[in-house]
Symmetry: C2
Subunit: 349 residues, 2 copies
Amino acid sequence: MEYKICLIGCGTVGQGLLEIFYKKRDWLEKHLGFKAKIVAISDKLKGNILLPEGLNIDKLLQILGRGQKIDDYLEGKVNPAASLNPLQIIEKSQADIVAELTYTDIKTAQPATNYIKKALQTGKHVVTSNKGPAALYYQDLNKLAKENNLFFRFEGTVMSGTPVFNLIENGLAANEIKGIKGILNGTTNFILTKMEEEDMDYEAALSLAQKLGYAEADPTADVEGYDALAKIVILANVLLGANLKPAEVPRKGIKGISKQMVKEALASGCRYKLIAFAGKKEGRIVARVAPEKLSLSDPLAAVMGVNNALSLDLDLLGKVTIQGPGAGKIETGYSILTDMLAIHRHLSQ
Amino acid sequence: MEYKICLIGCGTVGQGLLEIFYKKRDWLEKHLGFKAKIVAISDKLKGNILLPEGLNIDKLLQILGRGQKIDDYLEGKVNPAASLNPLQIIEKSQADIVAELTYTDIKTAQPATNYIKKALQTGKHVVTSNKGPAALYYQDLNKLAKENNLFFRFEGTVMSGTPVFNLIENGLAANEIKGIKGILNGTTNFILTKMEEEDMDYEAALSLAQKLGYAEADPTADVEGYDALAKIVILANVLLGANLKPAEVPRKGIKGISKQMVKEALASGCRYKLIAFAGKKEGRIVARVAPEKLSLSDPLAAVMGVNNALSLDLDLLGKVTIQGPGAGKIETGYSILTDMLAIHRHLSQ
């Protein structure tokens, strides 16, 4: 089956996805019967294009690789899509699947939420790696998708392409999830790792993370726990049926953890980790993000560097933990593909 | 959809499966549209039954719980299935799915392989936790299943119900698997853990494992690495497209590991683990089972006690590791259910 795809946002994740399409195109068609045709792109900085016959991915990647505008794809021909806004691009794209890949705004979840709604209202499946819409409006968007017989999928919002939702839907189906505990932010885990392994203080480890591109110039979202918070809210709402808002969930970052504390913890057989937790307490779903001292025998204690991991407490299987990348161009690009393949499995069987 | 199920073997795994059916029956029907009807059982010790209208699982579990014969289900009525052999039970059962749950014979893979062939030849899907047939005859059985448009699934052969094959098929689809490294035997991992944590020598740790029921009276299959070997052969053949025979694969157990070696490894920041490996080397697939000294920062080094774990080296996602139970009544019972649910997803969509 061939899917017409519209990309809203064509930054790192979009380009990661395009690179995978380029590399795996023949394999995907031969082994999974999956074919992608990019029919529309809208990017705030790079411009728009609408091409119902589909873009040549090699040519597109070359243009993007040279830092050119998407416009240039048309080689000087008039671009009727140039003046359209993303909502118009979605509406006119005739895509089967919209990949919403704009930046996360965890306070408003906009404009991404409007893009997703527009897609679902005009008959298009939605795949996203944007944490805002799933953290703030999962219930509404899921309902809207169901009413329209469409999929709203967001594997990339938690642990990039490392399977979480796809794992639970398939390999863990019929297990009741009693609790969720994870290391969901790679930047803070990298900082804590460097503080321990290279005896750095917090500021030095943060600087290194910034130098390596793991932390932003303004590291607040990572080090204060907002990023992990968005993810645990998504997990609690999707997997435990909660209806939590990020602002209701207790959150504490890693700024208060000193080199001395890291050393003392180790001496007592423990290791600090920024833990995101969700579980049941007195019949209600509770969640929190905070640094915790884990015993070294805890599977999460062994997760070092920028890696992420998630432990699920299950009624049938007990504890199952998955560890993998939590970010990255190809890794997050893959999260979009894995959701498209999930849609494909549902539609093609 | 309702599935008529035939159980060949009704020991620990079969009873684990029946307990899950008992506990989750309503949930499975309501949420997944899956209904199981047990229409036949054949067990070497407990006897046979054929009941096209389906057995009452509560009543069956009570009989099994009291250590009675399955015969007793009929309360003295003549049991026409009493004298049939398992092949006849499979043939006459009119089941949709045969769950092959007899004991593993890793040398011959019999009689299980004959049971599986009979099922596939008479139009029945097969689900098994028996390592023999998958380790020795995966190619043949998979071909036979495909020719008959049937499923041959075996999640439970590696890491009990912890998702391995179901994870890779769904959440990791389109990744090329470059290498596989796992702790696939809980008994030896328990022994190594006790040698380290409680300063036991090998013999004492083995005795404790036997006392707790983790090791058999004859512990050869575990401690000499035969069990891990069967599993890595299955993984190599299924996931890497190899055609290895267990006898061709180098195998070394943990008997040569002394308390002193465990201590010295730890002092140098390492830990001994019985590692099963499969990967590509000079264009060929190679595999081995042997104790290895892992750096403590290796995700597998943190797997303690009877837990199992598998690290996959993937072209798109890098390293993804899943950790979970490797044995157990409910856990392995679940492996059978998870494969039935996978079949159900394929057939019902």
